[in-house]
Symmetry: C2
Subunit: 564 residues, 2 copies
């Protein structure tokens, strides 16, 4: 027999060992094995389940030579089973030794572990899985019930044989499974000892064009082995680290804006990100059905997103929660963008772009998956046995991680509380009833901007728009300066045309408290009438007094929104 | 026998099983076990090693009842050894069963695995370690040779007994060991299948005061189980997420500035960080020995770091690579800081601070560990079998990670190449020989500032100082604006006093190329004479022409330094 040839060959499944805690799908699998004439050995629990439906199966005791011992602490661990899983089927010497020692080859192991219980760690099952996985050249190892159906198909299609490719795939799953199992044990043991450790696994890493800079290598890893890769519908230029950063940031802000605590209605939202910071955002109330009228509304929202800061939008990433049609795309075509992400891209647009001889060579159109809170959490928990999501930074030093609640539980304010006009010092604010939806829109944007951050938002013709932003500052006054400068440029240009800007519906929002009153003076000079901030400075009263003096309404939210 | 009492009791080591690949320290341990009258069973390799130095040891075959099988594929896996490790010593029924089945209790397992080889995965050793670990109430499991010495001490001190506490500690190590082992197997198998997965472990998590905001929980995890916790020498206020972020950033910049590719000489360096961005930096050539003269020089460097941007330094984190004495501290005492990090803090300063009735209540003094490239890498590789360090971001989406080379291999420029004065268009630059050390100082700072970033640095009285910075911008012109505004404020105030600023030794440095020439005009207006940037824009010629026209020397580095 040619050894190399046989190693790459399929193997015939003649004998199976089944020891499963999760019995989903096991009857169907065993039935098929029975049909194929496979000899089945089982641990006692599994044997009862099979015998109960008339499937014949033998007890593993026939191989181990020992009754289950010590209240089940030792059931499967035995020389006979280990050897049956581990000996080299291709070695003549091993074959002879197996005959001599009365070892029967096990060709298929079906095994999964009981749910992690730190007081009842599985030893036997892990040994079986690891032994079978190691000897993948002679053994197929099923650890995941979701693999039974394709496995049965392969058996049926190939007269009871399983390919090397499948065995290798199953081996990978087997060791990922035991790695997860022992990782969770190690974490639990550490936790019980008062030591916080964290074992993370990342999957399906996508090789990126380059890292933050062309001389750096980078990858984007997904949370679970089943996470889909990024779906690029148009564009051949590889994504870079900064592209992914901005794609995720654009989506994060989009989903934050979409999922309000207060409302369920559909909205049309557009966000633009550059260097990880929002530089464009607009939103309008939407409709349940996408139609011609809707299309114009989407076009208007996109226009508002771009017009907030056209300089920064150059080379940015745009995300919207509405389908991109050819008409919609044409309305923004003149803007140079690295990528557009949307729930779907119209075929006609893809056709149009593919037909272009030049232009949009660097653009990518990317389809995103809808945020699905419960599924996301279930899938994650199933795999990681963990209840908490984290976000943060990894460096050579270690990992700086904080808990992130699901979107439905994220808070942007305790309350939106007017704090001006209450004392009798100087001119008193207008005490207008502020648009809380507009404030929430602004708070969500500022929560995605790097600190210190200020955003200026307004309501116009029923839509919300960001019209100024300053972020990433080491002092707050520069952040206010930058946001005001952008806002003033915009309103000056609008006032020079027919569209007069009214400042009544303009709100300046800060991610942190104002440490000094100088910021208020800058805002007042630009005609800002409403300021929202967390509050909490030792100089709050000084800041409030300045607002009262300058006729500004100030609101406290009670929640700081720093991000780095 | 009272079950509960006995569970918490020490156990007497009477019988040991030794199966080690790494034989370091094993002779000394076995010698001591011999002295204590412990019966030793060994796998064949270990037995030869012990017999060779006259230590009596039996073959595990006496327990397994089987000769090593299938070329060593099955040596230790057996009912006898599994039962000897797993049965409940406290259960009368188990004791009876052990007698009946002729099972001998193994009280100590000494086992480590051969170096990871994906073609030769260890099955038996992992089974032993996991079985012994599970039954920690009756078994001690040594997997790390560095635990032998304390283990021997405990045996000697306690007449051959090992405490529950030690057994629990060893159990934790055992499962962390098998988790690492299978994680590395899973990663290698995935990699071989063309699937990039990454399994990360973080250790010694320090619970932080709060996350980026008070309503968020956070922890800082270290890279290895042996990484020391952050050493706070003064201050009781807990560190927050933002503190750690800034501490790491301040240290990172400090080490970058300290380790030049070109020079080995000692420097005095000070860095100040706020919201993750450098807002103060200064450096001077130093001396090998710290003395009075040096102290004044340190004070001057700190003054220059603060005076670069005193507004932003408020509430920042200061790092310096020189010991902080009482005199040095007093020179910066008026500045409100969240933390100071240094290689050491003088006892007199600690005494002074402890004696204060009020003041500096929020300050922490933190000792840092020197950056040690080779050790860091060795330690990390030993634990993780990985050759590459990563940095990046973790989110609910997954992980965005890029490779980071050790400091000695980080590059900030390909070359510092004058690109102006070469063509004959308009006024020609001065072609001064730029101070490359000053440029490198600036490039390192800009590489730690969030993009888009601009820094302005200068040389004054032989020291380097940052005198302007603009960062975190979504367009470059705002970054230039911010840096220039700060620089102009500073020079105006200096020119108003006796200290006249000369712009000849001032350099403006950009982390990315200039997309338009407008940035140059802003710089020229402020009197900037030297600009350093990567180059690479399609409008480079336009930008160079503008420099030539305005009498500015422009240098290209060839390396972009984005950071997010």
């Amino acid at each position: 027999m040619n050894r190399l040839t046989s190693v790459t060959s399929p193997i015939k499944i003649k004998r199976a060992l089944i020891s499963v805690y999760d019995k989903n799908g096991i009857i169907d699998l065993a039935q098929e094995l029975n049909t194929q004439g496979v000899e089945i050995f089982c641990s006692s629990g599994t044997k009862s389940a099979l015998n109960g439906v008339g499937i014949s199966a033998k007890d593993i005791q026939e191989i181990t030579g020992e009754e289950p011992a010590f209240d089940g602490r030792v059931k499967t661990i035995s020389f006979g089973i280990a050897a049956g899983l581990l000996y080299d089927r291709q070695s003549h010497a091993h074959q002879q030794e197996a005959l001599r020692r009365n070892i029967v080859a096990i060709d298929l192991l079906v095994c999964n572990l009981y749910a992690l219980d730190i007081n009842n760690i599985d030893i036997g099952g892990v040994t079986l899985i690891r032994a079978g996985g190691k000897n993948f050249q002679g053994v197929a190892v099923l650890t995941d019930p979701s693999d039974y159906v394709p496995f049965i198909s392969e058996l049926q299609k190939n007269q009871g044989e399983i390919s090397l490719e499948t065995r290798k795939y199953l081996m990978r799953k087997a060791f990922n499974y035991t790695a997860d199992y022992d990782s969770n044990i190690a974490m639990s043991l550490d936790e019980n000892a008062g030591i916080h450790s964290l074992r993370y696994s990342f999957h399906n890493g996508e090789e990126l064009r380059y890292g933050e800079n062309p001389h750096q290598q980078a990858k984007f890893y997904h949370k679970t082995p089943s996470s889909p890769k990024i779906e690029v519908l148009f564009g051949t230029k590889e994504l870079s680290y900064n592209n992914i950063l901005d794609i995720n940031a654009a989506k994060d802000l989009l989903f934050k804006l979409k999922y309000s605590q207060n409302t369920d209605e559909q909205k049309i939202i557009a966000t633009i990100i550059k260097h990880g910071n929002p530089c464009g955002a607009a939103a309008a109330q939407g409709f349940q059905v996408f139609n011609d009228k809707q299309e114009n509304q989407v076009i208007e929202v996109l226009r508002q997103a771009f017009s907030g800061d056209p300089v920064s939008a150059f080379g940015g990433i745009l995300a919207t929660n509405w389908p991109i049609t050819l008409e919609i795309f044409k309305s923004i075509e003149k803007n140079f963008l690295e990528a557009i992400i949307a729930p779907s891209i119209d075929e006609m647009l893809l056709h149009y772009l593919s037909g272009l001889k030049s232009g949009h060579k660097n653009l990518r159109l990317i389809k995103y998956n809808e945020y699905n809170e419960s599924d996301e959490y279930n899938e994650h928990n199933k795999h990681n046995h963990r209840k908490q999501e984290y976000e943060g930074k990894i460096s050579a030093e270690g990992a700086l991680l904080q808990a992130i609640p699901p979107l439905s539980k994220q808070k942007y304010y305790e309350d939106i509380r007017l704090v001006t006009g209450l004392a009798n010092n100087g001119i008193v604010g207008n005490r207008v009833n502020i648009n809380r939806d507009l404030v929430e829109f602004g708070l969500k944007i500022v929560s995605e901007a790097k600190s210190n951050a200020i955003v200026i938002v307004r309501e116009q013709t029923g839509n919300f728009q960001m019209v100024g932003h300053g972020q990433g500052q080491t002092n707050r006054v520069t952040a206010v300066d930058n946001a005001i400068k952008m806002f003033t440029l915009k309103t000056n240009s609008e006032n020079a045309t027919s569209k007069k800007t009214t400042n009544a519906n303009v709100v300046l929002i800060s991610d942190g408290f104002f440490p000094f009153a100088d910021n208020i003076e800058i805002a007042a000079e630009a005609g800002i009438k409403n300021i929202v901030q967390p509050g909490g400075s030792i100089r709050d009263q000084e800041v409030i007094a300045k607002c009262n003096q300058l006729g500004i309404n100030m609101y406290f939210t009670g929640i700081r929104l720093f991000k780095h």
